[in-house]
Amino acid sequence: MNFKLASSPHQHANRDLGQVMKLVILCLVPGILMQTWFFGWGTIIQVILAVITATVTEAAILELRKRDFERALKDYSAIVTAILLAISIPPFAPWWVIVIGTFFAIAIVKQLYGGLGFNIFNPAMAAYVMLLVSFPVQMTQWLPPVNLAQYTHDFWDALSVIFTSYSVEGFSIAQLKTDIDGVTMATPLDTVKTSLIQGFTYSEGLEHKIFDSVVTGVGVASSWVSLAYLAGGLFLIKQKVINWHIPVSMLAGLFVCALFMSLVDSDVYPSSIFHLLNGSIIIGAFFIATDPVSASTTNKGRLIFGAAIGVWVYIIRTWGGYPDAIAFAVVIMNMAVPLIDYYTRPRTYGHQAPNALKSKGKQP
């Protein structure tokens, strides 16, 4: 008998890459369902479009790179990227927006850098930034929550709007955006920002019907969506798919900034709760900034990385031109990851220096 050669360890945990990615997708499901519930079928259609585009793009490029694409597709990483991008863009954005965005994310941001594990930037967020800069109109066509909208829309309307810009009944996207009072709706962040620019105070901005009348500063629909993603994110932490460091530090970074500024002037600067539950900070903290490839890998580094994103989000939201800033903040911090990783190495057993920098590598 001759035995086969293998390297230790021979025992292995039963969780491979595909399973990790599937868990991430699973944890996104409650948020997606909530988003669909409040904003219509558009989200689901965008997700489907994105997944198809991502799969085809990934397979085609891997084939060009002469890699085993069947095996690579089984890791589900392209699908996760596609879903993250799809849920980030407006549900009724034209079909070509998501197709271009997904293609860009997979082909340019991911594969051109060497494929999974080698990309510097978070593919979904880099693509989002590209889309926002290239197609600002289409990328800001947010619809009011279904219960506040003037015209209801079903699955076929969504499909029709995405592919033809008109619903089955012939309404344009601009018409669909109007609320029951015939006024064009905006997102909570947009609403407050606009009212602040117009000289209103923060609390006056919150009087808009997009905000909940019971709990101050909470968007009627968007906060529910955020909570659904929060639940999924917490499950990921429990499953040890992600560490707590990035979500916690990112939310803390934003929270502390907002708290400080609202204490300075609560008329001009929205509260911490407003910042945490509106916009896409929750999904960003749990699903986007935690992308392992482009995030910091040391625990200390993760804390810095997350906190810096939180601070960036606050800065751009408050003083920048865009209402929300997850994508910008994440892409900016992606660039800093090598630096952060280098300076946050843990102390190795038996070494005095807190990180390996001071003690040069030792000889055998």
Partner: protein, 778 residues
Amino acid sequence: MQTSYEQIVHKIDSDELWDFPGGIYPPERKEISNLQPIATLPIPEKLYVTVKQHKGVEGNLIVEVGQQVLKGQALSKSANPFAVPIHAPTSGKISAIRKHVSPHPSGIPELSIEIETDGQDTWTELSPTLDYQNQPKIDLLTKICDAGISGMGGAGFPSHIKLSTSKKVEFLIINGVECEPYITSDDRLMREHAWQIRQGIDVLTHMVQPQQVFIAIEKNKPEAIEALQIACRENPLYQVVEIPTKYPSGGEKQLIQILTNREVPAQGLPIDVGVISHNVGTCFAVADAIFSGKPLIQRVTTVTGEAVSKPANYWTLIGTPIKHILNECGYQASSQKQARAIIGGPMMGFTVTDELVPIIKTSNCVLVPADSEMAELNEQACIRCGACADVCPAGLLPQQLFWHAKAKELDKAQEYNLFDCIECGACAYVCPSEIPLVHYYRVAKADIRNELDEKQQADKARERFEKRAARLKAEQAARDEKHRLAAEARKQAMESKGNNAKDKIAAALARAKAKKQGLAAADSNLDTKSEINSQKTPPIESNDEPTQKHEIVDAATEKPSASSNQRVQAAIARAKAKKAAVATKSNQTPEITTEQEKSSSGSLNIENQDENIVESKPIVHEATKVSDVPRTVVQQDTKKPEQESVSPSHEENSDNQISQNIAEQKQAKVAAAVAKAKAKREAQKKAKASEIQITKPLAKEKSLANEKTLAQVEQLAEDPNNQQESSSKQNIEHSAIEDPLVTKKRRIAVAVAKAKAKRQAEKTVENSAPKENKEDKS
């Protein structure tokens, strides 16, 4: 700051422990093998005892093929402190000593002793020590070392080295954690032999005098904990500590961290933080060695995995091939399409390819998993998730190490403390991309070590080259100086040539001197010959440097042309000598002629090969017979110091070798001539004597001595191993045959003497002559 002794004792006393970062919780699967008591395997037909089974150096073998050995008999021995002897695990006959596949991840064959067992299992004589408390520590250390005990937990570090520390030992940690899944050998040993383990601990405690002894056992072995608690309860110094189940808490460094919150410095040893740790198996073996005098020849090995039908723990003899073990334990080949046999556990064990791989002192487990038990891995790209860093007990960044190791950025990998990796495998265990991380680290470590070796060798070579260049330069300078002196001497000689009367007297004196000196030189040469030979050969054998080899090759290629030149020159010299001899027949003794001829041919050889005497050539040729003799004497004199200065030098170069060759040849020739002359005289005497009484014992005895020397000379000349000898032999033969003054009678006598001497040498000097020869060669 380091946690103090009081803090540690207080914490342990209050049933608390520290923790180490990271760690994993793989399925333990110990129940497969820990339910049955330790069984004994039948003695295999053949044992393969690897000579080196520990960390350190191997001992020298003290047995031979074909020798009968008894159980427990030492097979190797060494004065090196890092050498641990091996012993015959059972009685039998040594059938071979050769390389055999080793129980090492590489499977590289290593020197092994194969023992055909006789089934008698006869013990050798044992010498137990019962009053170990009254023995000096050094004796106990020797005893432990001689019993062949090296760490039985995995690394195989010689136990006596650990115990010989002179530093203060605060904690002696007895490691019974056995954190690796599947393995239960220590578990069973503790359950069944707690008392003997305790005896071993007693000995160790007596030797290192610790302030506290911790016996650390993982919580998943309640029976073992109980057994040792009972065995150790009467000694307040001993404390059995339950360690939480987590892999790799049994790693020496991790265990020290758990128990003391101290970290062994990066390049240090546990003793640097006041700790010594020993495996429970080692304690058992120490008790065996001290109280019964038994060396380490067997150990408990867990045989487990779903591919064996009788998984359990077994007493296995060191050297048992795993084939024997698998056969005895019901190995089911059918359940293994991807047949794998792992020595050690599933986390740190290594696969072996050969079924004849033997058990050694560190082999605690043979794991034969079924296909379904341990799936094959499918490496994918690293997604930098950092799961590896989370579980790393050494605080490393495995994904960074992997990145640099894969890219062969070895310096970067070292910067990330690659060599602090204990290869526990936790990172690869959790890696979702199923990357064999530890494998990458091993390769990188090996690459770095190779690089270092190469660098060291290159440095050494450069240093050697520089030294050699300097030496050659110095020698060149010395030669130039000699040339200058020689030229001056020659000039003086030329100037004084005019005066004939003076010349004659001088010549006569010189002749007489030459005679005396020649004889003296010949005698001394005979004596020093073996010495010079022995000085000459070692450097050639030990030359392993490429540059030096090159030189040798050069010298060798020069030789054929040199020897042909020699012959021509020798012929010329002979012819001249003949002429000279005819001219001065009346007053010439045979000795002088041979001497003269020899020296002149020798000088010609010298001129041919060593440039520094080239100038003297025309003088030798043109000078009269009278001036010829002093000339050669002078040359001999000038030659000697050089030869003496050269021979002790260790690094030979071509010049030295050639000049040495000449010296050799000359000596050989002189010796031959003297011997011949002696033999001649002897033969003459004997011829007379034999007329009266053919076999006179006294005469025979007397002649024996001379014949001996002759035989020696001949043997030296005939020895094909000595490169120079063949050419010198040629010269001797030439001079012997063509010597004009040797009469026919004499020649016959010489031949008879030679033949006699040869026969005699074969018969009576059979023992002494080869021995001498051997010594010469060595």
